[in-house]
Symmetry: D2
Subunit: 336 residues, 4 copies
């Protein structure tokens, strides 16, 4: 391994929205040297914030770097992760390929065989929940934006098993359009999104349901199923998960505020808002943090609003947070 | 009463967003003569779509009209309703003043005594649910935008008592900014709303909760309480209620589609989308209708998306629909 | 020709933004029967506002209609116009193919030979300027959105030759995104447009310059060249041309208001705003009209703000206005 | 004067949009200690990015600071500048009060007598043009957002006297809504701005015309008058000035690119885009820089697009740039 002060980094898929933010964050990181940034679509164009130009995925030289960030489509990403890993290059994978722990789960949610089952299980890169398993590791699966927001919103309840067993966990989520990627598609055309608001993949259809439930059940085996509705929100960035849960009879919703403040009191990137305040996108957009607010109802139900910037704490920022843990840097280096 | 073909109409509060839409709709109504439109703020300015100019509330002549639409702040509206009623002028009240059936309920939700308890109870102007009580009446309380969306989304379940008794009804709602009125306020400044998304009055704090539960319990006394979170959405118009309910064990969520299609099959202003389609704001903005889509989950839970234009089916359009019923015109006159 | 009360209409390219608005307007037109609407991309999908389904261009039956509206890409459109014309089907062409009067001009601005020079010159479908040449004609070239806004803004000056010969006419124009078409492209992605504002094809590079100057010089041979900068505006609809001209020394900018009011006084679809008021997109969006405001400067220069809805007066509305003139209907049928 | 490493700063009007950005920038400035931030409206609320709370203007202690930033309404600001100056506290005034050099000019554009003519003339705080007069000074008048964009766009032409004497300089400008301030007003309501685009104070009515012409004529006494149209753009931040000028016959528009690159080649905060590229808001929003692109037309006319973030290079960023020059810090400290 190289000197901590000079980690050589390559970024695959650097022209996508998550990839762009990885570049931007790393240019301000004290211990990073950016070696290459790939983009098959924008090959040859200058890479914003740097003096580099995009190169194609194939022409990147893995032997020149210590670590790669993979902001690639799922399927493609696992191949690259395997190649890098084979050459002792560390990997922060922002795709979905390494998030599910078993090939069977992957087959179920992605409808095809996992391309590299030998990489599974990969440590799940949500530091506030799984920090100990990220430190010093070689390959990390950075979580999706919906799972990050949802799991941060539920973590104190899961950890202390406050939720009524088997009661459904309702997650009504709203994402800025950058969450859908940079590739032009009819439903992402400005005219289609402007003035509109629309749900998609509701119920249990969205692939992130598998990832959310996997991590929930590690913390609380009795937690109920997730009912999940993502919506496309007419803003560029930001993600809100509005979560509704039923608590056990022997706990009090009114004490959830204390539980959350205690759980997150030392987390530099998670803010629990004071009682009576509501988390909004404005709290987090263009930051690497999350914000959470709580509303107890009839002392039995809890409404949790959890927000992040989908490209930062939901993608690039969290990937860099994992990178810092992998290489032994202070966790928030480049992120505050 | 005048000839049906020539109802003389006055509009109070005609320069607000709901009032503007009442004017616009009525200028296209075949059986209406618009006599005056009041606005204390814009007194003297031309009234869009007409040759009138706004006059102050006080200078309007009740003896010149057969009916008034009241798009006034609550509190003020009841006074005007009482005055009009005393002179045999019919009233469609778009404010909250006459929606709650008892002075006690009003006191509870509005924290002051009802100014005209003798007007209560007033028929609730949601035709799809309460049509028989609106026809031919003299005073109607047009519902709020959140209750309209929510009640239309729940009506088939309520009517057939499909919901598990006492299970909470979760309503995660999103409203375009015109729902907050035209008066300038810090939180409605363009810069504050642009790129943002924010909850307000969550849990059971919003005044519309009282109105929603009142109407729910008329239809199904065992229905659970409403957990309600309104959000400010960065669009000008449109309202979505995302509703999550638990069904009784002896009914099947998968059959809800049939129930809704049957219930609304003959309603000209309510569209139940085909299975697998999702209701979006685009379906209803600038129309007088509602659209509803359904997602059954695990055959036990139902996710309902109900959308309207908050100024049309949520205010002005519905007020005109009531007006048509009061005066014996075809219900959708001026609305399609 | 058929009975005026029952013109049979086919629409090609009916799923694009302009085509959608042609459909919407014609469904409210008293003398139209809509026979088919084509879309190769959305073949089989229901056509909004109708009971039709889109069919492919090739499967449309020209013998079943009296007239076709062509909302097709340039190049493709001329072919279809020629086919329809050969079968005595009238044509309203919304593409650029028939707007330039000579094959040479077409070659210059579109860099390829005109596919059907025998159709040139085609009457230019801007009724306020060229009405006499549209009435009763068989093929009409409906103007582009930028030329319509610009020419309406300049027409009184051109007709009365008020502008200093050879002084440049500066047109700083701003268009809503629907003007760029429905096909997904990287620069039309919501995230790229949101919060941005950008010029494109500035100077004399945009193809509409040729069309604008052609029509200007018909009215005033001495008018100077056009300096034209279109911009992409982050709204769905609406177009503003901000025009700056130098007047002849013997005319007075302060009298331009009278000239415009006199010129447009009887035009039902053009509004000249009173002195001191400024035309905004809000004046025209979702209408078929134009609005114009004037600011004289130092009695020598004139700043003209001309606005339309790019899909209505800038495309579909104007096409229907031409259609009405071709078939002898009152000019604003279906448009007010 | 204090040690350069520890300048004590007070900010008046710190809750307005410009004031907020001054706070945000200064919290990242290596040589600043923020002592107080005033806001009469939000007195007592926490100041974002800091541990301070807003205090009222009156309760701020001038003796505790070395310099104040004044982000106050015009009229109020001059009073505070005079008070601070009297106590040897340096002043960066972001208001319009000190920008015009004579009491007569102030009277002409602001229609009332200047409250503190003894402060005039104050050095004009546009470093790229007036750097030498800012270094080490005690009171600086930071320019407005429209003048900054316009003057940066014209500076190379003015300095080298490339423009035809007396030919009008046309400035079609577009500003994000934050430029209109944080105070709620009817025309700044989200619903009024959303989907709209509107000119205001056109011709020579806007007060910034006086400021622009004053600075233009210092550089080129023969420059023509400014024809200026500001527009309200439906975005939160960003300002574009589209400038159209006539060049002298003996210079070539095609060589303007070289002139601009040469003039700004060493300026860290001004970017001249390569030939054929167009400056957009995206180039500058949330940065402290300006970007400029050029389009020569017929070798005689030049179209200049000049963009800034109205709250950064157009207000707070530029104020800090001046502050750095006043105190001898590297000019871009805290700004890159």
């Amino acid at each position: 391994m190289t000197e901590p002060s000079n980690v050589r980094v390559g970024i695959y898929g650097a022209s996508g929205y998550a990839g762009q933010d990885v570049v931007e964050i790393l240019t301000r990181h004290a211990h990073v040297e950016l070696i290459f940034a790939t983009s098959n679509t924008y090959k040859g164009d200058p890479v914003p914030f740097t003096t580099l130009h995009y190169i194609s995925h194939d022409s990147a030289d893995l032997s020149a770097v210590d670590v790669v960030f993979l902001a690639l489509p799922h399927g493609v990403s696992a191949d690259m992760a395997a190649q890098a890993h084979a050459r002792n290059v560390k990997v922060v994978d922002l795709s979905a390929d390494l998030r599910l722990e078993t090939p069977e789960a992957y087959q179920q949610w992605y409808q095809h065989a996992h391309p590299h089952p030998e990489l599974l299980p990969t440590p799940y890169g949500l530091p506030e929940i799984n920090r100990a398993n990220i430190i010093g590791k070689s390959v990390i699966a950075a979580p999706g934006c919906y799972p990050t927001t949802t799991l941060l919103g539920l973590y104190p309840l899961l950890r202390h098993r406050w939720m009524t067993p088997d009661a459904p966990v309702i997650v009504d989520a709203k994402s800025g359009v950058s969450g859908a990627g940079r590739e032009p598609k009819p439903n992402l055309h400005f005219v289609e999104v402007f003035g509109n608001f629309s749900p998609y993949s509701p119920g249990r259809a969205h692939r992130h349901v598998g990832e959310i439930e996997q991590e929930m059940h590690k913390l609380d085996r009795d937690a109920g199923m997730v009912i999940f509705t993502p919506h496309l929100l007419p803003v560029d960035r930001g993600l809100m998960a509005s979560i509704y849960v039923t608590l056990k009879e022997d706990v009090s919703a009114d004490k959830a505020q204390d539980l959350y403040e205690e759980t997150y009191g030392h987390e530099p990137l998670v803010t629990v808002l004071p009682r009576g305040h509501q988390a909004t996108l404005r709290h987090v957009v263009r930051t690497n943090g999350a914000a959470i607010s709580l509303t107890p109802i009839a002392d039995r139900y809890l409404h949790i609003t959890s927000v992040i910037d989908n490209l930062r704490k939901g993608a690039a920022g969290q990937a860099v947070q994992c990178f810092n843990l992998m290489f032994g840097f202070p966790e928030t280096t480049g992120l505050l």
